[in-house]
């Protein structure tokens, strides 16, 4: 599904440069649910951004679903993001003047789908996250958990191969966090590959595999027994 080999990334800092990723090797199979952990500055977000094609590595190899991701033009990157990836963010990143339904339909708009079709499909995904009744509400009328569920519906709308979550529960209280995690686990049960950045140990333990980063290198990569989130809900 995803292979990364000797990935390096540094950011210029004035005269010197900050070496953030120092040779990452990582391979994720179809259907896995991986937590990337590390303290701030460990490079976990940079790694996720590179995987999400929002940023580009200086050197190293990144293969997604058999496709080498290298020297993409902006346009090409946009197409790949749209086709292969679904994003879930800590701060939801919904467009505040669009209704829940329109937010979910946005990736489909960029696929060039017809309006009627994409609204139908968006409605279907909103139904899946249990928010069909809220389809015409603006983000500001939704609770944090609801917003994140809209964001998940949006990430799923384009039927991506890989779901990338950046601290998906970071802005939520414990109860809502567990609700969202239960939902993400359910998606994983249905076969979606999920990659998640988190710094919360209990959230990480709800994944199937934990990759720990420190100072730009992987220090630990272990499979864990998944803690089901439903029990807390």
């Amino acid at each position: 599904m995803l292979q990364i080999h000797q990935l390096h990334k540094s950011y210029p800092m004035g005269d010197s440069s900050l070496h953030v990723l120092k040779g990452i090797d990582l391979s994720v199979n179809q259907g896995e649910m991986v937590a990337i952990m590390g303290s701030s500055g460990s490079g976990k977000s940079t790694l996720l951004n590179i995987i999400g094609m929002l940023d580009e590595a200086d050197s190293g190899e990144y293969i997604l679903d058999g496709l080498t991701i290298k020297n993409l033009t902006e346009k090409k990157a946009a197409v790949y993001r749209n086709k292969f990836l679904g994003f879930i963010f800590q701060s939801f990143n919904l467009i505040n003047y669009k209704t829940a339904l329109e937010n979910v339909a946005l990736p489909l708009y960029y696929q060039g789908m017809k309006r009627k079709e994409r609204l139908e499909l968006a409605m279907f995904h909103l139904g899946k996250v249990g928010l069909a009744d809220w389809s015409h509400h603006l983000p500001k009328e939704l609770s944090g958990g609801q917003k994140q569920r809209v964001a998940i519906a949006r990430a799923l709308a384009a039927n991506p191969k890989l779901l990338l979550a950046d601290e998906p529960t970071g802005a939520l209280d414990t109860n809502t966090s567990h609700e969202i995690m239960a939902f993400i686990q359910q998606l994983n049960d249905e076969g979606k590959t999920i990659l998640m950045v988190t710094h919360e140990e209990d959230i990480a333990n709800m994944c199937k595999r934990i990759v720990r980063l420190r100072d730009g290198v992987i220090i630990e990569d272990t499979k864990v027994n998944q803690v089901r989130a439903e029990q807390y809900v």
Binding site: K75, A78, P107, R115
Partner: protein, 409 residues
């Protein structure tokens, strides 16, 4: 290609950010409003200039004789110059190729009566061409024609104001009117846009006047219009060559200003066109400046909008928006706001001109208006202006890196 979804996105963005859109539109609307009003006022001034010279043909030359003021070739000063029919023939013979209409003219003032109504009017003996030089319009009947000239018929063409003065409700055509004791048959009624004064005039054939009131071939003055294709410079040269030929013919010193006078409309036309040209340049400079200010204004606001929408643009890019689609969304929004706001400004400007126009006449601004060409030109300019105003911000927006935009705040 018309992309309904793209426009839906743009309308949604404009609609959801009304204050912002209104503000950016306001700058442009105001700029265009000022531009339209300035332009209208300039046009009004121009109209005043044009009108102050009446509706007579504006390519006319009037020649009239006086007395010599200098002794020349053994002739003493103070000699009276008298034009005759042969002088008209001479001018037509010499300059006929460049002459459009020509008439010699006799001016008289007679006591005029009709069935007991009496008044004094100017009576002018003319050739048929005079109708075009004076720019008269026949309301009923006909004007003096060539047959009248040859047969010295006793016919009269009277102004509309005279009909009102003397005839009351009687139909004048075919009636006989008494001019200084001689009966003339009325064959036509004319109007003149210059008003009542020019309509209190009676035209009769020049040959009739010469025959009946003196039996000579004297004429008082000569009117002609030159080929309208001539430039102002050519027309001026044409006028002075007529003047010097006539001076030779009458043995008048070339620098004698009073013996033969020639009034050439080209002189005023040239002066007016220079003033108008100057005005137009000033207005264009001011108008262009205002427009530039408007464009800079909207460009600033678009830059601000892009800054404000950085996060949204980041989200869109993360979801698969290509740089091109980001450019078009910002650019089209800018063009749309500019075009609509500009148009509103233009309409308000035209409306203001319509409302205040009549009251401006005392300030020598007559009928201030903007032309259709200007409206069309302004529309095209607005679209281009919108594109210029939106381009840099749009380019900037398309270069936003999603990771920067999405960084948690």
């Amino acid at each position: 290609m018309f992309d309904l979804d793209l426009w839906r996105e743009i309308f949604q963005s404009i609609n959801k950010n009304r204050t912002r859109s209104l503000l950016s539109g306001f700058t442009v609307a105001f700029a265009i409003l000022l531009f339209a009003i300035l332009f209208g006022i300039a046009n009004g001034l121009q109209n005043t200039f044009n009108d102050s010279f009446g509706t007579d043909a504006n390519n006319s030359i009037v020649i009239y004789p006086g007395r010599t003021s200098k002794a020349y070739k053994g002739l003493q000063s103070g000699r009276k110059i008298q034009f005759k029919n042969e002088d008209s023939d001479y001018i037509l013979d010499q300059f006929g190729n460049d002459v459009q209409y020509f008439t010699s003219k006799i001016n008289r003032n007679y006591a005029v009566s009709f069935r007991g109504e009496k008044s004094n009017y100017d009576v002018r003996g003319v050739y048929p061409d005079y109708m075009f030089i004076e720019n008269n319009k026949i309301e009923s009947g006909r004007y003096v024609n060539q047959g009248d000239i040859e047969n010295r018929t006793k016919i009269a063409v009277i102004g509309k104001a005279i009909v009102e003065d003397l005839f009351k409700k009687t139909e004048p055509l075919g009636k006989y009117i008494n001019l200084g004791g001689i009966q003339y048959k009325i064959v036509g009624v004319f109007t003149d846009d210059e008003g009542d004064l020019e309509e209190r005039v009676i035209y009769i054939p020049v040959s009739t006047i010469q025959f009946l009131y003196g039996n000579n071939d004297f004429v008082d003055m000569m009117h002609l219009t030159y080929n309208p294709e001539m430039s102002a410079g050519q027309a001026l040269a044409f006028g002075s060559s007529i003047e010097s030929k006539l001076k030779q013919r009458f043995s008048v010193a070339n620098n004698d200003q009073s013996a033969i006078r020639l009034f050439n409309r080209a002189e005023t036309t040239k002066r007016v066109s220079m003033i108008t040209y100057g005005l137009t340049v000033i207005i264009l400079v001011i108008g262009f400046g205002t427009l530039v200010a408007g464009v800079v204004g909207i460009s600033n606001i678009m830059i601000f909008i892009v800054k404000e929408r950085t996060k949204e643009i980041g989200i869109r890019k993360a979801l698969g928006a290509s740089p091109g689609s980001i450019v078009s969304i910002i650019l089209l929004e800018s063009i749309f706001i500019t075009a609509i706001a500009g148009y509103v400004g233009l309409i308000i400007g035209i409306g203001v001109l319509d409302v205040i126009g009549p009251s401006l006449e005392v300030y020598f601004i007559k009928d201030p208006r903007v032309s259709n060409t200007l409206v069309l030109g302004a529309t095209i300019t607005l679209i281009i202006a919108g594109a210029i105003a939106g381009y840099l911000p749009a380019k900037k927006a398309s270069q936003i890196k999603p990771i920067v935009a999405l960084r948690n705040d």
